[in-house]
């Protein structure tokens, strides 16, 4: 069975022939599209290391079958910065030491971008911790992660205000 899908990954349109419907979005990105920034942790939807945005919403790419994504718009960690200019969430993670080994970091950052876009947590530390609970950090950099998301949420909100002013 050959299954063809067409999707947009980090702004680039891609036509993909899938020889096997079992391929997850995670494996498609890492093994077939040379985008290894998205990490495989548990591969069971429990750790969040594989978090990407699909049509602007954060999801676990390990539980998403690639074949279901015809027409979808995917954003991975590789697609977040604008050239040399880091995304505000990336900058905040660096400034607040939101990581140690770095393995969970792409998933943490993509999840934070998704959380901020959802608009439910604001810069409330407790709501950020709850909203980020699907991303585990084995180094336990949670304090810095929470601060980074708070800071990025504030910066992005004030940038939005400037834009609309």
């Amino acid at each position: 069975m050959s299954l063809s899908i067409s999707l947009t990954v980090n702004g680039d349109r891609c036509d993909v022939d899938l020889d096997d419907p079992r391929v997850t979005l995670l494996d498609l990105l890492r093994e077939r599209m040379a985008l290894p920034g998205t990490k495989k942790g548990c591969d069971r939807g429990q750790c969040g290391a594989c978090t990407v945005l699909v049509n602007g919403r954060r999801i676990n790419s390990c539980l998403t079958l690639a074949v279901t994504l015809n027409g979808a718009e995917v954003t991975t960690i590789e697609g977040l910065a604008a050239g040399e200019d880091l995304h505000p969430v990336q900058t905040a993670f660096i400034e607040h030491d939101g990581f140690q080994c770095g393995y969970c970091t792409p998933g943490q950052i993509m999840s934070a971008v998704g959380l901020i876009a959802e608009g439910q947590a604001g810069d409330d530390a407790e709501r950020i911790r709850e909203g980020m609970s699907g991303n585990l950090c084995r180094c336990s950099a949670y304090h810095g992660i929470t601060e980074a998301v708070q800071d990025a949420a504030r910066r992005m909100a004030s940038a939005d205000e400037r834009k609309s002013a």
């Binding site: 539980l63 079958l65 699907g134």
Partner: protein, 347 residues
């Protein structure tokens, strides 16, 4: 993962026609794909429902009823302003479950169809009557501290893991399903099944039937001012319930005109406590009343293993949920889950 065929029908009729034994419906896939990876579930073909239009609407009506399409994502339902205002404990329950990523993918219909998280069910090398009928139950006599205390049988002591289903049971939801024989509605109390001698059958769905939506009956929104979902778990967030409770009161002055109460994670189905509801009606809220109601809600509970603590936990969470419901739905809903940090920690 076993290889499977994949199809993406464009209508309910096409989906029903595509079904044959060995097929599985694919919604968000958050539970199904995971179970396929372990080999606990091995469908021959997946029928992807995402291409079917018309199953993503949320309608809240003036008579306090609601209709929810089966493909509405969990997060979209919880954050729908009109729905969350009318049914705050449903939103609270959804947001108490899983993670932001999973809620963005999981569908309403899929949430009702999720399988137990009993570790022996998930592990194909363990005996499990639910996974392989007649193979035995490794949970009986195994690690079973989180297993059922109500409605279990010697063949299966697993629990239903859904948070969402608990307030739906309390509010008397109805599941709309479609099959080759047409459309029918299944009362929520009959949708999930107790194990008896056939634990492999989780729900009242016939083979090949598809959930197309959910309905909350007229008047269900009348509880909006006094309703809560509370969940106890091993971690503050992102864990399945040890026990949970959905409590809703329709108050007339200081009197409880009508009460709804259901317990979660205590049985193979959300456990509606009709006896407790009857006991509450017409009374004034008091700690003694809520203690008696909680006793009634857990009547007949017996440990299925090393889990007698769950009976006391269930009593306490039922009483606590009723107490908080009586105090009124918080201004900001959903409130945060239990946390030692939060302002809304339920003290």
């Amino acid at each position: 993962m076993k290889r499977f065929d994949y199809s993406r029908p464009a209508s309910v009729a096409e989906a029903l026609a595509a079904w044959q034994p060995g097929s599985a419906w694919l919604g968000g896939g958050t539970n199904l794909v995971d179970l396929m990876k372990t080999g606990a579930v091995m469908p021959d073909r997946l029928i992807d429902l995402a291409g079917i239009p018309g199953l993503e609407d949320i309608e809240v009506s003036d008579d306090g009823s609601a209709r929810i399409g089966a493909l509405v994502r969990n997060s979209d339902l919880a954050h729908d302003p009109a729905f969350a205002a009318a049914f705050p404990m449903v939103a609270e329950a959804i947001l108490a479950g899983a993670s932001g990523q999973l809620r963005n993918a999981a569908t309403v219909g899929g949430n009702l169809m999720q399988r137990t998280r009993c570790a022996y069910f998930t592990d194909p090398s363990s005996a499990c009557n639910k996974r392989v009928p007649g193979s035995g139950c490794a949970a009986v006599g195994g690690v079973n501290g989180t297993h059922a205390v109500l409605g279990w049988s010697d063949s299966c002591i697993a629990t239903n893991p859904s948070d969402f289903a608990v307030p739906l049971a309390a509010l008397g939801a109805v599941v709309s399903v479609e099959g080759s024989d047409g459309r029918r509605e299944i009362p929520f109390s009959e949708f999930h099944r107790l194990p008896g001698k056939t634990p492999e059958i989780d729900t009242a769905l016939d083979p090949g039937e598809l959930i197309v939506g959910l309905r909350l009956p007229a008047g269900a929104a009348a509880f909006r001012g006094h309703s809560r979902y509370l969940k106890l778990r091993d971690r503050t967030s992102y864990a399945f319930a040890l026990v949970s409770a959905a409590a809703a009161l329709r108050m007339e002055g200081d009197t409880i005109a009508e009460a709804r109460l259901a317990l979660g994670a205590v049985a193979a189905k959300p456990w509606r406590a009709a006896e407790a509801e009857a006991l509450l009606a017409g009374q004034s809220p008091s700690p003694e009343l809520f203690t008696r109601a909680a006793e009634a809600a857990t009547g007949g509970a017996t440990p299925s293993g090393d889990n007698d603590h769950k009976i006391e936990l269930a009593r306490r969470i039922a009483a606590r949920a009723l107490t908080l419901a009586a105090a009124g739905t918080p201004a900001r809903m959903p409130a945060l889950p239990a946390s030692v940090h939060g302002d809304n920690a339920h003290a």
